[in-house]
Symmetry: C2
Subunit: 414 residues, 2 copies
């Protein structure tokens, strides 16, 4: 049942970072027998009573049972107590049985913790359309509940992986009204990545005291610049979930509104954590060898600029050219032209790795390809597009398209 061993992405960080305990949060993982052998594939996170939660979820119209369950609990503003995540089966397009199986697993967690099933959030990732191995998961829950600890962050990040080649986590600190608070986050994701209002799976925990009504707009704003700004293959998952749980154990005075300036530092830290996780997901894009940043400015507005940036970032011809370290900038011109947005070729300026390539609707006179070719041999590629029309701008990250993507997706039912 295990995927073939895949070489660690060359874009992986040297090591998983040191994540400190978050007061009010405990974690456990186990090998449930539901899917993989020889590795943990089930993760339970428990927060103490009094925590708040915010979430962003996939906009897919064929969203999985866990996404629909989380949406319901978030809308009902049920106080969160736990989060159960399994890897290997998405519990998506599994009909009424999928909803029953999900409820069974949440009931098992509620029984073990002494709370309501509606206080248990759930997420699943893996193959679509196969029945959830519910018995294995329910059976594993009491064991998980018995081994909760405050330092299982790396194991938690590893237990939710599917085709990921490394565990993804990060941490940041901030102060709110003089109180020091911490944000920890971990995520998974490698293919089927073009999050739309959400991400693959990302879970963030903080000890800050922040009411739900304040937490949600902060998460939504940070999400727009991080997970919603990445793409691996343009394929939006049915299972994207990003949750932020705040335990309040730091004891800061709760901010009254999202505009409260005591939150400035926390917002920066949240942005930092979300962007770090999003870039780790792109850096583990299936087959990825290079991280590509696409910056668009001069658009008619931000929405138009983002459409142009996504057209470039999702173009298989641009992504294969970068994989081949080929300075084939004409493919960027093509992608800009197909974006459906207003473009005036004579105003369009393209630069790669800081090297200007075009001006006045053509390649710069006396253009020297050498510095551009040198940039393309690196791991981090920067594409800048100036549309020269107005002030709209956008930044999107993607990875190159290599044989590894084909290997992983033509040969393994992920």
């Amino acid at each position: 049942m295990n995927p073939p061993p895949i070489k660690k992405s060359p874009l992986a960080p040297a090591a998983f970072p040191e994540l400190p305990p978050i007061p009010g949060v405990q974690l456990a993982t186990t090998e449930s027998g539901a899917k993989y052998r020889g590795r943990d594939d089930l993760m339970l996170a428990v927060v103490e009573s009094g925590a708040t939660v915010a979430g962003v979820l996939t906009q897919s119209t064929t969203a999985g049972a866990p996404v629909r369950w989380c949406r319901r609990q978030l809308e009902a503003e049920n106080a969160p107590r736990a989060l159960l995540v399994n890897a290997g089966n998405a519990n998506t397009f599994t009909g009424a049985a999928g909803d029953r199986h999900l409820l069974d697993t949440c009931r098992a967690v509620a029984a073990a913790l002494g709370c309501e099933p509606e206080q248990v959030l759930a997420a699943s990732t893996g193959v679509i359309g196969e029945a959830l191995p519910v018995d294995e998961i329910v059976r594993a829950v009491p064991h998980l509940a018995s081994k909760l600890s405050d330092d299982a962050w790396e194991r938690a990040a590893a237990a939710i992986m599917t085709t990921d080649t490394f565990a993804k986590g990060t941490t940041a600190r901030a102060t709110i009204s003089g109180r020091s608070v911490t944000i920890n986050g971990f995520a998974k994701g490698s293919g089927m990545i073009e999050p739309n209002m959400a991400t693959m799976l990302a879970f963030l925990f903080t000890d800050a005291a922040i009411p739900r009504a304040v937490l949600q707009p902060m998460l939504t704003a940070a999400n727009a610049q991080s997970f919603n700004a990445i793409t691996v293959d343009g394929d939006t998952s049915t299972s994207d979930i990003c949750l932020l749980l705040a335990t309040g154990k730091a004891g800061n005075p709760p901010p009254a509104s999202v505009a409260d300036d005591t939150l400035d530092e926390f917002k920066r830290a949240l942005d930092e954590v979300m962007l770090s996780l999003a870039l780790q997901v792109v850096g583990d894009g299936e087959g990825a060898q290079k991280l590509i940043r696409v910056e668009v400015r001069g658009g008619e507005n931000d929405r138009a600029a983002k459409a142009v940036a996504k057209a470039v970032a999702n173009s298989p011809l641009v992504k294969t050219a970068i994989a081949g370290e080929d300075a084939n900038w004409g493919r960027i011109v093509m992608a800009v032209g197909k974006s459906g947005q207003r473009v005036e070729p004579a105003r369009l300026k393209i630069a790669i790795g800081g090297v200007p390539v075009t001006e006045a609707g053509k390649r710069i006179d006396g253009f020297d390809e050498a510095p551009l070719s040198a940039h393309l041999k690196g791991r981090e590629i920067a594409i800048e597009v100036d549309l020269g029309l107005a002030d709209g701008c956008a930044r999107v990250w993607t990875c190159d398209l290599t044989h590894g993507y084909i290997d992983i997706n033509a040969d393994y039912r992920s």
Copy 2:
């Protein structure tokens, strides 16, 4: 300068078909020295005075100089006399010099034939952003004009290829008011294929007598169901041009309107020729091993159905699964869900190769994967999606995504 030798697509027809002469049309090809060595890369077609022309062109906002030139001549309703096509250089994003070079080549043809430059249509395909080798092309024109013949169809189809692995042509006959007429067509295209209101390069010739005002709506209608219904990689070219030239030599009474029922048989023949060429382009999709037909019905309207069909046909995860002959139908669910169109999972029915896979929002009970796996081993794959909402329908063709696509595009500047 030549691309590496690429194995002929397994989806290629056994041989180039026998194309009969079209009265009033003559063709010639040559090795111009502009790009490739050891093969023809320049093609001239000449039609006698009195011909009409219709065309559909790329909607890219970074369209090449030949596209903008053709648009101008079609709008001006200039009587066509010739068509010059070069392979290997797209003359796109080449600034004012690109327009001058184009005019120089049309002037050379006009001088050789004794007509106006505005009566010469032009098309270019190949790398974007490099200066057109105008001297080589201009020098080759008198030689081309001296060797025109009525039977050079296969050589013409071969001279316009870039990464194509086979020459694409077809022919059909019809009668108009009792007169027998012929349509010949040839095309090129392999990558950067998601035509938007046009195609890569396709040229159709008929001896029918059809006024321009009648010819254009027929071409537009046939295009919607053929070239505008195919995708290889979702990348819309800057150079797509499809032209239909009618010499009138068949002597049929010219139809007064596109609704004239003497045109019924001709329309069917035109549809057949266009669809054959479009399918040959997909069948030569870069790295293609399988031809995939995506049928969507039950959509809210035809536009919505086409958006769903395109989401499936452009999904790299669907295309790699089919390359791997993996019955991973969950990825079709994902693609339908990301399309942005209304979907009710409980009504969604998916069938592959005529084998029903889902019902009531889940996999069919007792589903047997064996017949589906057998279908996936074939060369032609059929995906049917019934949204179960209303009567909207669409049909789109694509190919699988294989290592061949990466080989061609990461290693060769096409």
